[in-house]
Amino acid sequence: MSTDTPVPVASLASRAAAAFTAYRLGDRDRMGELVDLVTPVLWHTARAQHLDVHTAEDVVQTAWIRLVDHADAIDDAQAVLGWLITTVRREAWRTSKQAGRADVVDEVPEAALADESPGTAATIDPSLLAVLREGQRLLWRHIADLPERCQALLRVIAFVDRPDYAAVSRALGMPVGSIGPTRGRCLAKLRVALLADPKWSHS
């Protein structure tokens, strides 16, 4: 992505909708394209809910099978991205509850987790930080310093296109701090922290 004036690009939701529509019209192969397009977002949605790698894989797979089973029940193809994200979030919540996690409440939480939680950064293997360039490590440190729900939001938003931000924030159940069309609290915090850091350069 460049910093030039953005060329209008199809949003992830639109590309997903096109593949999903073709699939429903009988072009079965387009489902593979949909899987390639959306799985990264779903992966980070699951991981941002503190699922380990194995459980996150199961949850993402389950969401896809649900989609195949319920393909006709989705009225608006444009909503398929949000439907999948919501399904992963609910399935992640259900799985965590079954596993008896003490910090899981009885309802699908509106805004995923409390600000005091250890942070979604805690699910990352610290030894992997060695693969990052210095500037990337700096950015990651600032992300990891954000409140939990902001980390969870940014982790997913980073994998969708700008026109998707508002719908994806909604699908994540994050009215507070949501991104799009305004910057929102979470991204604003990160931006302020980066701009205040003399070591950070965005060139």
Binding site: W43, I65, Q136, W140, L154, A188, L194, H202
Partner: protein, 172 residues
Amino acid sequence: MTTDDSVVGAQDTLDDLDATILAAAREVIARLDPVPAGLTDRIKFEITLAALHAEIADLERMPLAGVRGDDTAYVPTESVTFTSSTLSLMVTVAVGDESPASPATEPTVRVDGWVTAGGAEVELFVAGQSFQAVSDAHGRFVIEGVPRGSARFVLRAPGGAGRPVITPTMEI
């Protein structure tokens, strides 16, 4: 908790710097927590299976004592039987008796199978690959050079009649 207005710029419209930050965040997160290799292939496979509306076979595991390969080598084998309303399948897995071509090459296994129909189409899915065979007049088939991993068989009656049968996952 703070409100949106308490953070500088929270109410501003997204600009190019925001796009730059998010693009950099995407790169960092993708490196720190990559989508597991093969996940999308596994998902596509599961979707294909779901679309087959296949009958899922029951597993009957029958561990056998190892059989003697020659005077010294003791080749472990395991025989597993799957049953369904139409077709049954018995498979025996033998660890490849030849050494791998080089230390870097993963050892493979040989799968000997028997289906209760000649001319049945057998497809073995393992480690993101698929292997095809057709059972002979006695229902036998052999698939060699199979990598180890979680495996599933899909069976189709001769001529593709009836519902396909899918086995549960077995480790080979």
